[in-house]
């Protein structure tokens, strides 16, 4: 509060400074998703409107353009405290509520004096961002947690414990976690002074879970690997929870939330074993682990090898541990991926690059053993260090090679991410153009091809072929019939792109026999 005449709360929108790729200053509009204080300085978790969530970040107050601050709109459209709809971070109504509720007006307490009691004074009319802790009304377990947390505060505001011990609920009003909202009417406030990873907790009274008013949300569908319906989303999953991941030679900055054990989210760096992907809390642990882990490749069968590139197939049922670890890692970079259910119905194809240390994971895709919707890919990811080097296309190509062996056409599970869309479009375009530009011109007649033929040759699902043709603007209606026209720039662009595409899958190197999973008692 040192720097704020006005209280900036969750849901506020304001321009926030960020550097663009050209390292120029930009002031895109952003929404405050969460606020925390570290050693007296506030940090704001912002989401840049119309930017992908992966760019969300904690910013210092000086990057905020307070002059253009928009408070959350006091919309009447969210009628009740209960059953708050939507998962959007910008739910303004909570503020209103805050003000209305007598208890909810809580002052900010200075970090030095953590308060475990009801607010002494109300400094502002703004809704308080920092609810305080009250032990009353908690179940023993959570009360214990709180107590512990408080001790920590008293000890110096230390904090680490705090962050992990109590599932700190980010202060998205209207959405608190069920576990913490035990039907009490208290406002709970947790201070984290030091731990940068701990968002403050805010539990608005009486409001129940973020899910619909009927309480326990229905479980999501059990097929597929992605969520398109964000109704299960809540503020926690909207915020990155891991700061940094060390994997082999690489340090990765996660893009999205991933449900690693919560106590690990407070760590500055989460260490993963490069080969088995086990998560470890410290370098020492990793060291110890490596003395016991003798894997030097993903724990599956190698089904493809060409050059240094190999693919390993892992059964999500037979090798749960690895599959789960892989999913946890992947979730850091896949927004729509869901880890709600076990990995049993999936196969994981891990692409590795070999060097003298072993087979290093580059990327992977997962695939349902049996897909009812012609999906040949569930989730697909190139790890950030390997991105934009053609590995993604290689993964995609490999997935279609598998489909070719299976004799099926396939399509990636939806929704696609932005990067996914670009990659797939690029792959489809190149694949289709490759065919169109080298038609088997029999007897000098004008070459022609059906969409079905393209689909069969490439194993790309018909719809994807059509959409690609459309996207490339190849379909024209000429003299009463549809034709495909290849314009100059398309041809040139394609040729240039193909020159850059060095990594290709060699079908001869694929040793793969598809299994009929329907015959083996499923998964």
């Amino acid at each position: 509060m040192a720097d704020s005449q006005v209280e900036i709360v969750e849901g506020c929108r304001l321009p926030v400074l960020r550097k663009n790729q050209e390292n120029e200053d930009e002031w895109p509009l952003a929404e405050i998703l969460s606020v925390k204080e570290i050693t007296g300085r506030k940090l704001y978790y912002v989401h840049y409107i119309d930017f992908n969530k992966r760019l969300d970040e904690w910013v210092t107050p000086d990057r905020l353009d307070l002059k253009k601050l928009q408070f959350p709109k006091k919309e009447a459209k969210t009628p009740t405290k209960n059953g708050l709809p939507g998962s959007r971070p910008n739910s303004p109504e909570r503020d209103v509520k805050r003000k209305v509720e007598p208890v909810s007006l809580v002052t900010q307490v200075s970090p030095a004096t953590p308060v475990a009691s009801l607010p002494a004074s109300t400094e502002t009319t703004q809704a308080s961002v920092y609810p305080l802790v009250r032990d009353a009304g908690f179940t023993p377990k959570s009360a214990a947690g709180r107590t512990e947390a408080r001790e920590d505060h008293e000890q110096l505001g230390t904090l680490t414990t705090n962050g992990t011990a109590r599932r700190l609920i980010p202060s998205q009003p209207g959405r608190k976690r069920k576990a913490s909202c035990l039907g009490t009417d208290e406002i709970i406030k947790v201070f984290q002074n030091i731990n940068p990873r701990c968002p403050s907790v805010f539990l608005p009274p009486g409001e129940d879970s973020q899910d619909s008013s009927d309480g326990i949300p229905s479980a999501p569908r059990m097929t597929g690997s992605l969520v398109s319906d964000r109704s299960h989303d809540d503020i926690i999953t909207r915020m990155k929870n891991i700061d940094c991941i060390e994997l082999g030679r690489h340090r990765l900055k996660p893009w999205y939330f991933s449900p690693y054990p919560q106590e690990l989210t407070a760590l500055p760096i989460l260490y993963l074993c490069e080969f088995c992907l086990k998560y470890l809390r410290s370098l020492k642990c990793l060291q110890r682990h490596l003395t016991k882990c003798n894997l030097r490749h993903p724990p599956g069968n190698e089904i493809y090898r060409k050059g240094t590139i190999s693919f390993f197939e892992i059964d999500g049922r037979k090798n749960k541990m690895y599959s789960q670890n892989l999913c946890l890692l992947a979730k850091c970079f896949l927004d729509h991926k869901t880890l709600y259910y076990d990995t049993d119905p999936f196969l994981f194809y891990v692409m590795t690059e070999y060097d003298s240390k072993g087979f290093h994971i580059v990327g992977y895709f997962s695939k349902e053993k049996e897909s009812t919707e012609d999906y040949n890919v569930a989730c697909i990811l190139t790890l950030p260090p390997y991105q934009r080097r053609g590995y993604g296309k290689l993964l995609i190509e490999f997935s279609y090679e598998l489909s070719k062996v299976e004799g099926k056409t396939g399509t990636p599970e939806k929704p696609l991410s932005d990067l996914g869309l670009l990659s797939y479009r690029s792959y489809w375009s190149q694949t289709i153009l490759e065919i169109l530009m080298n038609p088997k011109s029999d007897t000098g007649e004008r070459p022609q091809i059906t969409i079905n033929e393209i689909s069969e040759i490439t194993s790309v699902k018909k719809e994807d072929v059509i959409s690609t043709l459309q996207y490339l603007n190849l379909i024209n209606y000429y003299k009463g019939q549809y034709i495909l026209t290849l314009s100059e720039d398309i041809v040139d662009g394609h040729e240039r792109a193909m020159q850059k595409r060095h990594l290709r899958i060699d079908p001869k190197c694929l040793h793969f026999t598809p299994k009929d999973w329907s015959k083996r008692g499923k998964w």
């Binding site: 790729q21 414990t161 097929t223 030679r249 016991k292 880890l339 049993d344 932005d418 070459p447 026209t485």
Partner: protein, 810 residues
């Protein structure tokens, strides 16, 4: 201009699209690409993300440049790849094998501790290592075990000792360290683990819970179930198909044989025609030396599990039919006879009979497209032949029908009358209740007869022929009257008698003696009231029974049930004699009983149950069918009381049969007594009939009680039917309360009993009186209170020994 006026056809994925280069089509721009018929494909992205700034920028850049431009990529958080200590961390080299790596199924499960030491642990380890040697893996294993043993609660030191099996000092220090560390631990475990779901569903929305088990709602499960069901169906289908195949194969075989038979028959006929063998002599000549051969022997077994075994049937050549077979077949002999006569006359074709028969039936089969059964039938029962047209029976001659199945008589059933087959006498007695019968009006004995009731109550006598008929005809019907009683139907004697009978020749004398010795059941219609007026052809007794339709159901029931045990009627003489016997018996029993009673009294007054069992034992030993027979017949032959019960609520003393009269004379036999209870609520008229049961003094009382409903608004009528006269055990197991005077379990019942006995005492009736009473506590809800039997034992002082057998069915 008009280019928009036409409608493009929908894009057909199966239609070839010519591929043009733009330069080949200079006029293409005129023909503006019309894509409206091509549905716009969704991108597959979420709407809100589709509009994201960087994506749009990248897409448009691509559209423009047709090539990725560095500046137009979607920015992502940076990653660094310069971990300097990597080589120190990941030690060693890994040689790539030539072959593709194939993982061995169990190579992954190495028993390494999941716990990984951190630097804090290392300090402890170093400290411990000063005193003893402990390897990091050992330490990790200890922590690992401790962690995994502590699900909700930390393991105690004692548990830890069991768990770890380590040196005490080491264990103590590690345990203490672990407890401390665990306390400070932020997570639920020192081994970081993904949060597990909880069964109660409270974690359904916990974002940190992952990899939940797929529940049984899973669609695949459903499919699996379907798979199972369809698999079973397929199995069944397969079974049935294979069965069909078998059946078809068998049909094929059958038809082949038939064809063969037909051909052979034709051949035979042709040959005979050529030889001029019109009479069949040659044929028979040829046949003679041949042994008997079975023509048809087709046990058919179907594969559906139930093997339908067609009994082997042999068609025998006529000349092989033995005398024995004559007895078997009712039809054949006749035919044969006919044939013989024919043969005698002119035809001279005695033995050709089967051939045309088979021939014909075979031919017929083809018309029918017969099933196996039909074929079988026709083979067995050839239709009558046309050459029998001069059959003396004319149009009434027996002709076999094509579709009917004619069974040969079973030898073991033929003539199986009980008197011929003593071994069946017991079982078949009911079925063949034949007994010697004499008619009153044409006074003669008509031999063995079985009575049954026909339409309108007529009694029909089925006569059975026996080889003693000649003798029996000479029998003087008066003999029957001299028979002491019909109680001779005692099983053992009867069996003996039948054994004697089974011999063929039995003289009149023997029969007579059998009758006299009561070894043969005899019957002669008797009339109790007006014997003379009875029609001779019906037995009076039964007739009357049928006339007395108003007899209550109870007595009918009695009648019916008694039929099982007895067969004959009872004459007055029989009755009288029997009564005398009974009186005698009863006196003996009384004497016995008094003795017994005393002993009972002295020994086990408090254990009435044992008494019951004791007495019932006695009874079962001494029970004889004679008395049962008598008891039943008494009921049967006394229509009066029955009518009285149903019609009037009073006793017709005038119409009381001999049984009632006897009650005055005999002390124990008390056929009917009325107990008019004084209680207004229970103004029932109870007709009590006692039937004596041999040695014990227990009187089973089938009591027929009708209450007048008018006088009993609250209490419903009580109809007591005791059907099994000769079995106490029916009553006793239910709810037997023996009580001495005071301790009756049901006060009302006891009271009634007392009243009844009091009443009994006034007319100086014999002590055996039974009272069926309606218990007051049953009122309003009991429509029928089953027999309440009260038994008063001691005759002279009938009040001091009183037993109430109280059976409450409710």
């Amino acid at each position: 201009m008009s280019k928009l006026s036409f409608r493009a056809r929908a894009l057909d994925a199966a239609k070839p699209l010519p591929i043009y280069r733009s330069k080949d089509l200079p006029d293409l721009t005129d023909c503006v690409s019309i894509n409206r018929a091509v549905p716009q494909m969704p991108t597959g992205m979420e709407k809100e993300e589709e509009s994201e700034h960087h994506l749009q920028r990248a897409i448009s850049a691509q559209q423009v440049f047709r090539e990725k431009k560095e500046s137009m990529v979607i920015p992502v958080p940076e990653a660094e790849s310069n971990i300097t200590y990597y080589d120190r961390l990941y030690k060693g080299e890994f040689k790539v094998p030539k072959q593709y790596i194939h993982i061995q199924p169990f190579s992954l499960d190495n028993e390494q501790p999941d716990y990984d030491m951190d630097s804090e642990d290392e300090t402890l380890l170093n400290r411990l290592n000063r005193k003893m040697e402990i390897k990091p893996v050992q330490f990790e294993t200890m922590i690992d075990r401790l962690e995994k043993a502590s699900a909700n609660q930390l393991v105690t030191i004692q548990e830890a000792k069991l768990l770890l099996n380590e040196d005490d000092y080491l264990l103590k220090s590690v345990y203490d360290y672990w407890v401390r560390k665990r306390k400070n631990c932020r997570g639920p475990s020192l081994i970081p683990q993904i949060k597990q779901e909880k069964r109660d569903g409270s974690t359904n929305s916990d974002p940190y819970v992952a990899f939940r088990r797929r529940t049984e709602k899973m669609q695949t499960r459903k499919n699996r179930k379907n798979d199972e069901a369809s698999y079973e169906k397929m199995l069944k289908l397969r079974r049935e198909f294979s069965r069909t195949v078998t059946i078809l194969e068998m049909i094929k075989r059958r038809e082949k044989s038939k064809r063969e038979l037909l051909h052979l028959t034709l051949e035979v006929v042709e040959k005979r025609y050529q030889l001029g063998d019109f009479g069949g002599e040659i044929l028979s000549e040829v046949k003679i030396p041949r042994p008997e051969k079975s023509v048809y022997s087709t046990p058919i077994s179907l594969h559906n599990g139930n093997h339908h075994k067609v009994p082997e049937f042999k068609i025998k050549h006529p000349h092989h039919i033995s005398v024995k077979e004559d007895g078997r077949d009712f039809v054949r002999p006749k035919k044969k006879y006919l044939k013989k006569t024919k043969l005698d006359i002119s035809y001279q074709q005695p033995h050709t009979e089967p051939l045309p028969a088979i021939n014909k039936s075979d031919l017929k089969q083809y018309d029918f497209h017969s099933s196996d059964d039909e074929e079988y039938l026709q083979a067995l029962s050839p239709t009558s032949e046309p050459d029998e047209e001069n059959d003396p029976d004319g149009s009434f001659a027996f002709r076999r029908k094509a579709v009917c199945q004619y069974h040969a008589p079973r030898l073991d059933q033929a003539n199986s009358f009980p008197w011929e087959y003593p071994e069946l006498a017991g079982l078949e007695e009911l079925k063949y209740r034949h007994c010697l019968t004499a008619l009153s009006v044409p006074r003669r004995c008509i031999g063995f007869v079985r009575r049954r009731v026909g339409r309108g109550g007529r009694v029909i006598l089925d006569r059975a022929s026996s080889n003693q008929d000649n003798i029996l005809k000479q029998l003087d019907p008066e003999v029957f009257n001299s028979i002491p009683s019909s109680s001779t139907s005692d099983c053992s004697t009867w069996t003996n008698a039948s054994k004697i009978h089974s011999g063929n020749g039995m003289s009149l004398k023997e029969v007579l003696s059998n009758i006299k010795m009561c070894r043969l059941r005899c019957f002669r219609p008797q009339s109790i009231q007006n014997r003379e007026s009875e029609d001779g052809s019906t037995t009076r007794k039964l007739g009357q029974t049928m006339n007395n339709r108003r007899v209550t159901g109870a007595s009918v029931a009695l009648l019916n049930s008694n039929r099982n045990g007895i067969s004959g009627g009872i004459t007055e003489e029989q009755f009288q004699t029997h009564r005398q016997q009974l009186v005698q018996m009863q006196q003996q029993q009384l004497a016995q009983l008094q003795q017994k009673q005393q002993s009972y009294h002295s020994t086990c007054p408090a254990h009435p149950n044992s008494q019951v069992s004791g007495t019932s034992d006695c009874m079962s030993k001494t029970l004889d069918s004679a008395s049962a027979h008598f008891a039943a017949s008494a009921v049967v032959s006394a229509p009066g009381p029955g009518r009285m019960v149903s019609k009037d609520n009073s006793v017709h003393s005038s119409n009381i049969n001999g049984v009632v009269q006897s009650s005055g004379t005999s002390k124990t036999l008390h056929s009917a007594s009325t107990a008019l209870t004084p209680s207004p609520a229970i103004s029932t008229v109870q007709l009590v009939r006692t039937v004596n049961h041999t040695t014990t003094n227990h009187h089973l009382i089938p009591a027929m009680c009708t209450s007048s409903p008018q006088s009993l608004p609250g209490n419903s009528s009580c109809l007591a039917t005791a059907v099994h006269l000769n079995n106490v055990s029916v009553v006793s197991p239910v709810n037997v309360h023996h009580s001495t005077r005071t301790s009756a379990p049901s006060p009302s019942a006891l009271k009634l009993a007392t009243v009844a006995t009091n009443l009994d005492r006034v007319p100086k009736v014999t002590p055996t009186s039974a009272i069926s009473s309606i218990a007051r506590n049953n009122d309003y809800r009991n429509d029928v209170s089953f027999a309440k039997l009260q038994h008063v034992k001691n005759i002279p002082t009938f009040l001091d020994k009183k037993k109430v057998i109280y059976t409450d069915t409710l």
